[in-house]
């Protein structure tokens, strides 16, 4: 598979950010380092972390299938989220190396099974990825401890074991030393995976003591081992020291994993938590209540709502204003007819200028009534307006358009 097509693939499902690329590169470099001892040439390790995911998905599918085994189609289905070419590539390699084999070795075999060794290997790889081998070292030390305590173990085996341990610690220490002199970013990234906790040092020293007590003649190898352990502890401390010095005022908090912090908050006693703040001086509450602010607060107090007294009522029976208004349509028509008739009298047509009063308030009431009359088709009166307009500043209204009320 070409690198170009790989990139295209990735662009399609998520943007290839610099961060993502860096993370991938870090994962790949760990893979390369782990299998350097087994690789035939330097290009033999996967160039995309997704390829390992395919293998893991396949193994999970095999575990699910049990004795049914899996056909090629079923394998493809299990890995349906991955592109076909990546899947084929993986399957070819896995088959070639024997991680996936035919159930029975005969031609045209359609069903496959997974190799137990490869599955375990993959588990190991994942663990190594998580903590850079710290927990492996723990396990290894625990196993070696058991081994050297076993009465069947020979001196030669113990020598071998001590020598291996010494070598591992030395290499680990060397890596840390290199990191310590390198860039602070790389140190921050890598060191916490590599440096040993006191636990590891203690276990290693326990192992060393067991070997030395049982086979005093191995003191030479043990001295080597002891030196390696010390060198490793020292390198760990130095790397941590450089980080502690270089960081800001909260940056080092990143160097403990989230889980450690969570465990601390959940399990620590109040006294242990409180001890963190021993020696810190904080301000006592001392708000300032200015007289003006107090006065303002009093002014803004939610006022008691005074009970609102009902207005005084007359002792006499009061039917209210309801009956004084006759709401019926007939009454309104009658009133309007009366108004019109009183203006017209006997005449069939009367000029408005003659009937309007001298004061505007009564004139405008009159005009309103007449307009209503005009707009009521059932009443036999109409207003007729002419274009004439007389203006007389001494009179009220001073502007008067000429019009007539007519009987129809």
């Amino acid at each position: 598979m070409s690198v170009g097509s790989l990139n295209l693939e990735r662009v399609s499902d998520q943007p290839l950010t610099l961060d993502a690329a860096l993370t991938d590169e870090a994962v790949l470099s760990t893979y390369r380092r782990m299998f350097a001892a087994l690789a035939r040439d330097s290009g033999a390790v996967v160039d995309d972390p997704a390829l390992v995911d395919i293998a893991e998905t396949l193994f999970a599918a095999f575990a699910e299938a049990g004795e049914e085994w899996l056909t090629h189609e079923q394998m493809r289905f299990a890995c349906r989220t991955y592109p076909a070419d990546q899947f084929d590539n993986r399957l070819r390699v896995l088959k070639g190396l024997g991680a996936i084999r035919e159930v029975f070795p005969k031609p045209n075999q359609l069903r496959y099974r997974a190799s137990f060794t490869s599955v375990v290997g993959l588990m190991f790889i994942r663990r190594m990825m998580d903590d850079g081998g710290q927990s492996e070292m723990h396990r290894l030390l625990a196993l070696e401890d058991l081994n050297v305590a076993d009465p069947r173990t020979t001196m030669e085996e113990a020598r071998q074991s001590a020598a291996n341990m010494a070598r591992a610690f030395r290499l680990w220490a060397l890596e840390l030393v290199t990191l310590t002199t390198g860039t602070i970013e790389e140190l921050r990234e890598q060191a916490p995976k590599l440096w040993g906790t006191e636990e590891i040092a203690r276990r290693a020293q326990g192992l060393h003591a067991t070997i030395l007590t049982r086979w005093p003649e191995l003191d030479r190898v043990c001295t080597d081992l002891r030196a390696a352990i010390y060198a490793y502890s020292d390198a760990s401390r130095r790397a941590a020291g450089r980080l502690a010095d270089s960081a800001g005022t909260t940056r080092n908090l990143t160097l403990l994993p989230t889980e450690t912090w969570r465990t601390f908050t959940q399990t620590a006693s109040p006294e242990r938590l409180a001890a963190v703040l021993d020696g810190f001086v904080f301000d006592a509450p001392a708000p300032w209540h200015d007289p003006a602010a107090i006065a303002r607060a009093v002014d803004e107090a939610p006022r008691p709502v005074p009970a609102q007294p009902t207005p005084p009522r007359s002792a006499l029976p009061d039917p209210g204003p309801g009956s004084s208004l006759d709401g019926s349509a007939d009454a309104a028509l009658e009133r309007l007819t009366a108004v019109a008739e009183s203006l017209l009298g006997e005449a069939s047509r009367v000029a408005l200028a003659d009937v309007l009063g001298r004061d505007w308030p009564s004139a405008r009431r009159m005009l309103a009534d007449l307009t209503t009359v005009d707009l009521r088709p059932e009443l036999p009166y109409r207003l007729a307006w002419s274009d004439e307009l007389s203006i007389d500043p001494d009179r009220e209204p001073a502007w008067l358009s000429h019009g007539y009320l007519e009987r129809t």
């Binding site: 006191e198 005022t249 959940q266 109040p270 409180a274 107090i294 607060a297 009093v298």
Partner: protein
């Protein structure tokens, strides 16, 4: 009611406070006889409990200056740190107040000392410069309760408000009730909560069933007394039934110690002795304008909630003035702290260490534990997850209350009380978001940690959470090398 009820711990859970508060408020006839004999002894007998109560009484049990003669500059700075960290400082009989502090002298010539501000300004200066002061929790309610207490305690209005006369808690509550026109239990609980907060900040002294004005009331400037008189005049008189079981005067008399015990804060009487101007030599060399700028900058860095912008204050912009400002602060055990182009002030590391060594722990174990938990959840964990880019102890990631309630070793009652105290002191900020979300973040006080203090806090957390890691070993190695 227990005879030795003593001063209140501030950590009573407020919602259930009615019972406790009633017993503190006294007003029952049985209380009077006992109180006569116990009230005097309570303050002195419960040394430790009193000391941790915060505020006026706290300092009475904590920092005591007994030495005669003028204090050295370093001692004055330490005294100022005490006053800021634990409230008013208690003075032995006849002992002069440290420079820059007003002396509130009792009839027996003991007293309390409180810092005052240069040139007669008060923190209300911040308002003129439009800088937000530290927020007061439920400020309106708290100030109205203070007004009610003032009305009840300031009996002789020709004199200064402080010291005034003690008044029964019930009278203060009745006055407050008349002011807001509500009589329900909720109002009563809120008012008692406000009284307790005022007690913690030394604005009132809650004694055995009585309230008196706290030392901070002596800091109201002379020219504002007319405004206070007018305010007290405006407050409505409480409507009280004529015949209470015990007359107010008897409650007050009962709460008064039989013979004046030293440092009994509830006792009336006393006078204010003005502070010696501590900055005069520094300020004298500057003209009026510069002097005002220096004082303004001093007030904002000391009292603003957040660091203030350099460009807004001449005394922060100008290096020469800033030097004078730093000198003023250092006389009070303070130092300037820079956050990029913003400034605030904090305790000077050396002075704080000296003050811590000689004073008493002010925060209780559960309060410090809760604070540490919030620091881990809001700062350490987001940082470890790469969510908090800023190198700071403030954080936008709230610690959910549920997390504190469910997944820690703290009893819930202590947790709630501690959260309230820490919030009140500005050590925690509450973030509200919807029904479930929200929680607590480190409060504005964390702006005031010096870089050395911030680094030490980080180291202490690492030592506590991962004591066996090489990182902890490196921290210890570095400390022992120093």
């Amino acid at each position: 009611m227990a005879p030795a009820n003593g001063p209140h711990r501030s950590s009573h859970p407020e919602p259930t406070a009615t019972g406790a508060a009633t017993s503190a408020a006294g007003g029952t006839s049985t209380a009077v006889g006992d109180a006569n004999t116990s009230a005097g002894g309570a303050v002195t007998a419960e040394g430790r409990a009193t000391a941790t109560a915060g505020g006026a009484i706290a300092a009475a049990g904590g920092a005591i200056i007994g030495a005669r003669g003028p204090l050295a500059a370093a001692e004055v700075a330490v005294a100022h740190v005490w006053a800021r960290a634990a409230g008013p400082v208690r003075l032995g009989a006849g002992v002069a107040a440290p420079g820059g502090m007003v002396r509130l002298t009792r009839p027996d010539s003991t007293g309390e000392a409180l810092p005052v501000w240069p040139d007669g300004v008060t923190p209300s200066l911040l308002e003129e410069h439009q800088v937000a002061p530290v927020t007061v929790e439920r400020s309106g309610e708290t100030r109205r309760v203070l007004a009610a207490a003032l009305k009840c305690c300031w009996s002789d209005q020709q004199a200064d408000p402080w010291p005034g006369d003690p008044a029964p808690v019930e009278l203060v509550l009745d006055t407050y009730r008349a002011l807001i026109g509500r009589t329900d239990d909720l109002m009563r609980n809120w008012a008692i909560g406000a009284l307790r907060r005022l007690h913690d900040s030394a604005w009132v002294v809650l004694g055995d069933g009585v309230v008196s004005l706290g030392p901070r009331c002596a800091l109201w400037p002379e020219e504002s007394h007319a405004q206070l008189r007018e305010l007290v005049r405006r407050l409505p008189e409480p409507q009280r039934p004529e015949l209470t079981v015990v007359r107010d005067a008897d409650i007050v008399a009962a709460a008064r110690p039989a013979e004046p015990a030293p440092g009994a804060g509830a006792d009336g009487g006393g006078r204010v002795e003005a502070a010696a101007g501590e900055f005069d030599d520094l300020l004298a060399g500057h003209d009026e304008r510069r002097r005002a700028e220096l004082v303004a900058a001093f007030m904002v860095v000391e009292h603003a909630a957040e660091p203030v912008q350099e460009v807004r204050f001449a005394a922060l912009r100008d290096p020469a003035l800033r030097r004078t400002l730093a000198e003023m602060l250092s006389r009070r055990g303070r130092t300037l702290i820079q956050h990029r182009d913003r400034w605030t002030s904090g305790y000077d590391d050396d002075v704080a260490r000296a003050a811590y060594a000689s004073g008493e722990e002010r925060l209780s174990v559960s309060e410090r534990a809760v604070l540490a938990l919030v620091l881990v959840h809001s700062v350490a964990i987001p940082r470890a997850e790469g969510l908090l880019p800023e190198d700071s102890w403030l954080s936008p990631h709230p610690t959910p209350v549920e997390e504190l309630r469910r997944h820690t070793q703290l009893p819930i009652g202590e947790l709630e009380a501690a959260l309230r105290t820490l919030r009140h002191a500005g050590l925690l900020g509450q973030v509200k978001a919807g029904e479930e979300a929200g929680g607590y973040v480190p409060g504005p006080q964390f702006h005031r940690l010096t870089p050395a203090a911030r680094r030490r806090l980080q180291e202490e957390l690492i030592l506590a959470a991962g004591p066996n890691t090489p990182l902890a070993a490196a921290v210890l190695a570095r400390r022992s090398a120093r």
